[in-house]
Each structure stands twice: as C-alpha cells, then as structure tokens.
C-alpha cells in the first residue's frame, strides 16, 4: 500500500484502475443512463482496456512516470472520445507533461498532477465544482490530498484521505443540479441522481490510494 513513485509503479496503478473500471462498468453505465446516454461504462472500459494493453506491452520502455500518464491519456482520448474520455484523457496528458522531468513522483509531484487534471477538466469542460460532474469527486479529492500533506501526513495517508473525500464528493452529487453535458438538459429533475463521472473520479483516487476498502 504505497503511492506510486516510479514509472512502473504508475503503470501498476493504472492497471489497477483498469481492473476497478472493469468491475464497476455496469454501475457507471447505469448511473450515466439516468441522466445521460448510458455509455460511460462501455467507454471507460474501452479506454482502460486499451490503456492496459498498451502498458502491459513487454516492449514498452518508459523511464519517466510522466510519460506513462501522457501515454495513458493519449490512449484514452483516442479510443474513447466521449465527453469524459476526452476530458480525462487530456487531463492525464497535461498532468504527465507537467511532471515530465521527474524520474520519481513525491507528494508534491502528485499534488501538481491532481491540480493539473482538475484545472484541465475545468477549463476544457467550462465547468466548476458544484456542476455535478467528475470535478465534484476530483476537486475534494485533490484538496484533501493537499491538506493532509500540509498537515504533515504521509503520502499514503494523504492518498487515503483523498479517496475518502472523492468518494464522499460522489455521494454528494445526488444533491446537486446538473449544469453540464447531457445531464444539464434535465435542470431541476437531475436532483436525486448521483453523477456517473463523479463515480469515475472516486475510482481514480481509489486506485491511487490502493485502497482495498469496498468501493
């Protein structure tokens, strides 16, 4: 239960995430079906299956952990260009580029990564916290991570807190009115349903924290 530092550890984390997505695909689809077109399970699985295939290639030689993120992001954006596939894919690409020079990722580097992903999604999606999107899991997750580090927690402890906050953020989307994407067309009728993208956001922090706790 350590937070990934090297390129190969980031690979492991993403493969772990791919397995989580596989296990959660049906739930993602069902959540997206309530307020969207129901394809999120299919597209996320498609994206992460492709990522797993790319990253499991024995020929693969990436030295920098940032390159792993760029490769994963590019793959996602190429094979699963739905709203979330695109936002997430380019979020990973930008985060990877931000830490391109690092051979190992410490807490500060991960803090940059999460903030970059959040900023990228917010900018491209023209969205903010409270709009009932993936940001409502990613933003509390990233903030909890930073606060824990500031408090002097270990990176592992901080990651676990990030996951708990992201997970709570997902639950909280039930109270929100959607303001983005297909769900935005439901206006006040969107209240009462949880957001599918936010569920995906919680999965990301789950893989990051390597939490074994039930999702």
């Amino acid at each position: 239960m350590t937070v990934p530092q090297s390129a190969s550890e980031v690979v492991d984390m993403l493969i772990c995430l791919a397995h989580l997505v596989e296990d959660t695909a049906e739930e993602l689809g069902a959540l997206d079906a309530s307020l969207g077109d129901g394809d999120l399970g299919v597209t996320m699985r498609k994206g992460f299956t492709a990522i797993e295939t790319k990253l499991s290639d024995p020929e693969l030689s990436v030295v920098h952990p940032g390159d792993v993120l760029v490769l994963a992001g590019t793959t996602m954006a190429s094979v699963a260009p739905s709203t979330l596939g695109t936002l997430l894919g380019f979020g990973f690409v930008k985060a990877g580029k931000k830490v391109a020079d690092k051979e190992s990722l410490d807490g500060a580097a991960w803090s940059v990564i999460w903030r970059t992903i959040v900023d990228s999604i917010a900018t491209q999606g023209k969205a903010q916290r409270g709009d009932k999107t993936i940001l409502d899991a990613l933003v509390p997750g990233a903030e909890a991570f930073d606060s824990a580090l500031e408090r002097g927690d270990s990176v592992e402890e901080a990651a676990l807190e990030a996951y708990v906050a992201a997970r709570q953020g997902f639950e909280d989307t039930a109270r929100m009115q959607a303001r983005q994407g297909r769900a935005g067309r439901y206006y006040e009728h969107s209240v009462g349903y949880k957001d599918a993208g936010a569920r995906m956001g919680a999965l990301i922090f789950q893989a990051f924290s390597r939490s074994e706790q039930a999702s």
Binding site: A77, P81, L87
Partner: protein, 334 residues
Amino acid sequence: MKKFMNDPSSFEADMLEGILLAHGDELEALDPDRRALVRRQAPSAGKVGLVTGGGSGHLPLFLGYVGQGMLDGVAVGDVFASPSAMVMLEVTRRVNSGSGVLYLYGNYGGDVLNFDMAAEMATDEGIEVESVVGIDDVASAPKGEESRRRGIAGLFYLYKLAGAKAELGASLAEVKEVAEKAIARTRSMGVALSPCYLPSTGQASFAIGPDEMEVGMGIHGEPGMERLPIEQSHQLVSRLLEPMVQELSLGAGDQVSVLVNGLGATSREELYIVYRDVHRWLANFGIEVLLPYIGEFATSLEMSGMSVSILSLEDELVELLAHPCDTPFWRQCR
C-alpha cells in the same frame, strides 16, 4: 431491428470500407481505421483547409461533403459518437496548406470538446485554426440561448457557403466571416415520426405512438418541443416555418434557399409534398425561394421524419450557393 449489416461491432468499419472502395478516387484515408478522411488532392496550395467531423449514422453528414467546392477533410466517429481529437489533428495537419484551417461542425458536447482539443494541439504545432459551430436547430434552445442550440441539416449550408468561399481563394478570416454569416442566417426545425435503431444495441432511440409526431426532435433522438397528433403537411409546415421566418426577420421581397431534408425512412415523394407547402407558405408572404434542396442531407440512420431549413439570402450567398461542387454525396455541375 432489421438491418443490412455484418457483425454490429464492425458497422462503422464495414461502412467506411465500402465508402473508400466506392469513392477512393476522390477520398483518401490517412489511417488504417479510415477515421481520418481527406480529399485526395489536399492540401490545395494557398487554399484555406475546411475540416468537419462528427458521429456516424448521419450520411451524407459528415464525411459526404468532402470534395471539390466543399470540405477538405473529416474526422469520423462511431455511430452517434464524437471522433477523437487525435484524428481531427491528423486531418488538420494534412489539409493545412499554410493558409490556415477552419473547423465547421455541429454543436454537440463531445464534438466541441474534441475540436477544441484538436485546435489547441494544432495551434501548438503552428497551424492557424479557427472554428465555427453549427447551431441551426431552433427547437433545441430558446431565442437568446442560441449558443446552446444543436446543429442539424443547416450544416449543409455552412459547408456549401464556406466551401465555395475557400475554393475562390479567400483568406481564413474571410472564409470564417462567410461561415458566421451562414450561421446567423440559417434556421432549421425537424419532426420525427419513428425512431432509429442503434446497430450496437438494437435499441430504438425513442418511443412514439402510431399517430404521433415529435416536433423539434434532434438527429440522435434528442427530445423535441412537443409531442402532437400527426397533422397534414401544410399545417405542419406552417408550424415549422413561423418561428424560423420570425427569427430571420423575413418578409415580402426577401429571398431564401430552402432545404427539405429526409431523416432516413421518409420517401422523396413526401419531401416534395412538404416542399410544395413550404414554397406556397413563403410565396404567400412574398418570400421567394431560390436554389431549393430536397433530399437526404443529414439523416439519423433509418429514422422516419424530416426537417426544413431556411437560409436567408443576400447577393454573395446566392453566388456561393450556386458555385459548382463535386463531392461523393453532393454534386452541382457547371
């Protein structure tokens, strides 16, 4: 659902293979999956490159209008799904002659995101990129919220007008100006009578009663404005035209082009009956129709239904509309 197809999972691949086998003298695929398609002769020296893209299932949209006098390249997505920004970038690189590239596409979340990303990446590579987004469907958001509207069959006018302007050697700024004029002067509205079926799932895109019509339905089965009992063509036509003509402030002496578009299963006989009623309704208000278009221009697989688009004309637009073009799916000779 009954369809002529092989494995549903190869629906897009088989279709694209067929299109390239049939039109390989005019179109070229840049990738093995045939998702990045361009005119064979692209780039044309000194010409602004025009690129579109969008989900499959709307033929002749989007790829059908790549050819002489219209577009230079297209990024092709799965049925009703956006193509990726990487594919768009690939197309952009190829069609850029150094005179810049203009993205023209419909206002759908996934497409906007991906074209924005592609534009960002292309700009990073030093390619000048601009975008104009189709928002002709008056039924998809109220007046005042035009930027939330969807793009439907009126995209044809966007392609045709910008395409002619670019072909005539205009600069990126000039072509963009014409494209924006096309957007400002085009309105559309559609009616659906029956759903389409997604090849991958076999599911109907929506449910509708045997005597009902959905006024304002989108080309992916997005909900419209009203569910009503089906009515006679002339009644329906006046229902569709009124808001469009009002938004375009059309009156006696004005000239328009009309596009009556079949969504897939509607017979051409019916489209001409609708055109008759459109022509008469407009004539009644002293509005003259030049260069009408009747047929299938933007479909939704085998959905039964149609849309009417109006383009408010002025001198330059008449010339550009009449300008010859020659694409696999639309040809205007001379």
